[in-house]
Amino acid sequence: MEMSEAKLDGNAIAGLLREIFTMEMTTSETTCAGCGSVSVVGRVDVYLNAPGVVVRCPSCEQVLMRIVHGRGRYWLDLRGTRCLEFVAPD
């Protein structure tokens, strides 16, 4: 169905997140501000066919992140992410 075709997983934004955080982020863990569930970023729900990237919690479908890229800037809305845990660079 076309409904589920739009939904990808976090690996679809591996490159984008590497550009923003300058490190591999798909193994990091995000805590949903809505339902509290913890997801590996590589497994979150990702919608790319939109004015920006929308990342949603795979448990409750709430928005975890909104990423807009334009005019040489990024806008990153993390209101839906209570905590983002990732390995510090060496």
Binding site: M3, N49, G52, R66, V68, R71, W75, L76, D77
Partner: protein, 201 residues
Amino acid sequence: MGFISRGFRGKRRDNVSSSRVPPGQHVVTDFPVLAAGPTPRVSLDVWTFSVTGEIDEPKQWTWKEFRALPTETLTADIHCVTKWSKLDTSWTGVSVDTLLDGVESAADFATVFSDGGYTTNLPLDDLTGKKAWVVYEYDGQPLHPEHGGPVRLLVPHLYFWKSAKWVRGITLQNEEQPGFWESNGYHMRGDPWREQRYWGD
């Protein structure tokens, strides 16, 4: 033979210099589906459309009541901020002027809200004066869920993210509150002819 003719595919219409295509846009003939989340499903038995917020007497219509309102069919060009434009699209629905008829409000702004949690903000002036509709038919057919059915907002003079899919109501406000995209980089108004795509445009 290794030769493959590219053949004629007709004249490309993108990048066409036209008074109907805003700057930075190209014309498409298909109808791209944009989605910021899963497609919501709502039963028409429980569906309602509301006008709430800064209003003396909030209004609400059931599906049956909504469909009994006077309708209009219109043809419009639509412009998506992701740079495609589609010309001569045909819609049927209820004018926002009809929905706000008789409403007493001092509000200058509105937030349109949808199933699935999407919101978008508009000055009330952009929703009234024969500029905006709540539509349930596209090209003579019921609006497909992937395009916002059962009903979506249609505000063709602004970028298409303002034409919220799966719309359920309008909240009237005294102050402008940024919506789903407007709170994260996208322009508060979104006039395609002024290329108001991002904050600062």
